[in-house]
């Protein structure tokens, strides 16, 4: 088990700079998730850690060892590819042992390792089959088996679940988490699914346009996103961004005013923690789950709740919750409601907004204030 240090890493393909100074540090045993939209350079970063792409600038260390120019086979890593990359002409057993055979591990030891891994992943009955005769989920397990059979310093996963159907994906997610608990290896896990990242990772690196936007614990990334990109990327439905003006409410406490129905504005008192904001114009970020139907009891229990009236334009029941779309000035604001108190289309609802969870962003730098 060892740590992973990435410092000022850059990568260019010809004139195009794909990675622009990446800094990530993973402690031994940590589970790091790399998330970001398609094309942001996640796979490239992973390939560079694996040694499959050259480093243009910067350094990669596994443990204390600088590995910039070490061949993939000498980096002591194991990788699961998005396409699984199982050798199609070999049986599952041969797929799993190919690496050990290449390294000259004697047969009894290989057999022992296959037995251990196939029991762990419950793929014993599949050992004699070829990848073409397996289902997607089984292939995924075999690909995991091929990585687990060795005892590497580092595990790399490139979107290992993205080819599975929704239910299997959730199951495998849980299994990967259990597996990591059991094996405890330092892991870098690429995904563009933010739920996967939230559930699995000890820390998340959110990437965008070749840069790490934020590298922190999942809850911190979710609650205190470093900028509007991270705020919008993590969470579904996405965070609402409402242009607002900073001022004071009738009690003289700091507040923001937002446009609501028609031409009217509503003052929302800010949470006590928020102070010293110098800019006048800000963007108020509110997650859909912090918008709900207002009631005096709720307000009594949680004084940080602000009250807003808004017409309901559309509702989408999903079963567990109902998504409501309300009009705030010329914006559409999304809220997640308990189906029992779901808004009705056309109704003008009185909303409660939990301001203790609201974020304020600078409209120009897009950074969290």
């Amino acid at each position: 088990m060892s740590s992973l240090t990435i410092r000022n890493l850059r990568k260019s393909f010809g004139a195009v700079e794909v990675l622009k100074g990446i800094n990530i540090e993973a402690q031994a045993g940590e589970f790091i998730a790399l998330v970001g939209p398609s094309g942001c350079g996640k796979s490239t970063l992973l390939a560079m850690i694996a040694g499959l792409e050259t480093v243009s600038e910067g350094e990669i260390r596994i443990g204390d060892r600088l590995v910039n120019s070490v061949a993939p086979k000498d980096r002591d890593i194991a990788m699961v590819f998005q396409s699984y990359a199982l050798y199609p002409t070999m049986t599952v057993r041969e797929n799993i042992t190919f690496g050990m055979e290449s390294r000259g591990v004697p047969k009894p030891q290989r057999d022992e390792a296959v037995k251990r891994v196939s029991a762990l992943l419950q793929i014993e009955p599949l050992l004699g089959r070829k990848p073409g005769q397996l289902s997607g989920g089984q292939r995924q397990r075999v690909a995991m088996g091929r990585a687990l059979v060795r005892d590497p310093k580092l595990f790399l996963f490139d979107e290992p679940l993205s080819n599975l159907d929704a239910k299997l994906r959730v199951d495998m997610r849980t299994e990967i988490k259990k597996l990591h608990h059991r094996v405890g290896k330092t892991t870098v896990y690429v995904t563009h699914d933010q739920v996967e990242a939230m559930t699995l990772a000890s820390r998340i690196a959110v990437m965008h346009q070749g840069q790490v936007q934020q590298f922190d614990e999942p809850q911190t990334v979710y609650d205190r996103p470093a900028n509007m990109f991270v705020a919008g990327f993590m969470g579904s439905p996405a965070m609402n961004f409402i242009p607002a003006e900073v001022g004071t409410d009738t009690d003289g406490k700091p507040a923001v005013s937002i446009k609501t129905a028609g031409a009217s504005t509503t003052m929302l008192a800010l949470h006590e923690g928020v102070s010293g904001i110098s800019t006048r114009n800000v963007i108020l970020g509110v997650r859909p789950e912090h918008i709900f139907r207002y009631s005096p009891e709720l307000k009594a229990a949680k004084p940080s709740i602000a009250k807003v009236d808004a017409p309901v334009e559309m509702v989408e029941p999903t079963g567990a919750e109902t998504i409501g779309f309300m009009r705030f000035g010329d914006l559409e604001v999304v809220g997640r409601f308990d189906p029992d108190e779901a808004p009705r289309m056309g109704e003008t609802i009185t909303l409660g907004i939990d301001m203790s969870h609201a974020c304020l962003f600078d409209p120009i730098t897009k950074k969290l204030l």
Binding site: A47, A50, G51, L52, A71, P72, K73, I77, A78, M79, F81, Q82, S83, A85, Y87, P88, T89, M90, F98, G99, S102, R103, G132, Q133, R146
Partner: protein, 315 residues
């Protein structure tokens, strides 16, 4: 289906007009397009093959005649030394030609696959011989092999006056001259197919093998080449039918000589039919060539069908 259609028609109180002439035309179009080529193939393959088979059992000489003589023509064919040489030449040539062209083609493909600079240029150079007809290849190489003004003469003029290179003029080695020329002509073609195969291999497989610590040689042998195994078979089958038809190359290069050392079945058939007026025996020889092809192609087509079934069964 149609009963449902009429049902709906009755219920909605409208007459069901049936398919329009346009729809009917659309349905019939594939048949119209395919019929001429199917008919032509049928005539050329089955009718003419059956006819040749019948002629090979008849007493035809200069012109076809239909007196049945059983296997006489075959017996006379196989008692002829020249035919025996031709038939064994065919197998000797085919074996070396196919293995040689595939080995060199594969080697070239693997070299080019290492992302060499000027790849397109190399590909064109190696593929170029295929654009030249066998007649031209044969003629050019016959000049090269010619002791008086070919390679021998060139090397001697450079100072090695004892140099001997008369591959094509020695009855024991002339067949090798043909093999070498054939390989030169078609290894580029094998290369092109292999290269396309190598390029179609999922790059992630190669990366996985790299991480697994496999050497380049092991990666090719264990991962890449097994994946493109079907291409080996396809190349081999195409080369085999090139080999069995070999006629123009030999005709231009050695004309079957020296003596009868490089006679090939196709040359022999041509001789019998059009030079010596023995159509019956010529047809028998042609049937033997067909048999040689069938020995290869029938198992191959069974294999293809079997594999197709297997694949569709596993989705």
């Amino acid at each position: 289906m149609s009963s449902i259609d009429t049902d709906v028609g009755r219920r909605t109180g409208q007459a069901n007009p049936g398919p329009s002439w346009r729809e009917r035309l659309t349905k019939a179009l594939p048949i119209f397009v395919l019929v001429p080529s199917l008919a032509a193939s049928f005539v050329y393959i089955f009718v003419f093959t059956s006819w040749t088979l019948y002629i090979s059992l008849s007493n035809s000489s200069l012109l076809p005649s239909y007196g049945f003589v059983g296997l006489d023509n075959y017996a006379s064919l196989w008692s002829n030394r020249r035919w025996n040489i031709a038939y064994s030449n065919l197998f000797f040539f085919s074996a070396f030609y196919i293995v040689g062209a595939m080995a060199i083609g594969l080697a070239l493909a693997i070299l080019i696959d290492q992302r060499v600079r000027g790849e397109a240029m190399w590909r064109t150079i190696f593929l170029y011989p295929l654009a030249v007809s066998f007649i031209v290849t044969g003629t050019v190489w016959s000049w090269l092999y010619n002791p008086v003004d070919g390679i021998q003469m060139l090397v001697r003029s450079l100072g090695w006056t004892n140099f001997n290179f008369a591959l094509a003029s020695d009855r024991n080695t002339a067949i090798y001259a043909i093999i070498i020329t054939g390989i030169w002509q078609s290894s580029g073609f094998a290369m092109a197919l292999f290269l396309a195969g190598l390029r179609s291999v999922d790059q992630d497989l190669i990366k996985a093998a790299q991480i697994d610590g496999a050497s380049t040689f092991r990666t090719y042998r264990k991962v890449i080449l097994p994946v493109i195994a079907p291409i080996f078979l396809a190349v081999a089958v195409i080369q085999i039918q090139f080999a069995i038809k070999t006629f123009d190359l030999v005709a231009a290069l050695t004309r079957g000589g020296p003596g009868i050392s490089t006679t090939f079945p196709a040359i022999y058939v041509y001789d019998l039919m059009f030079q010596r007026g023995q159509i019956g025996e010529g047809a028998a020889a042609a049937m033997m060539m067909l048999a040689a092809l069938a020995v290869v192609l029938v198992p191959y087509s069974f294999y293809v069908v079997w594999r197709h079934r297997k694949e569709s069964r596993h989705g």
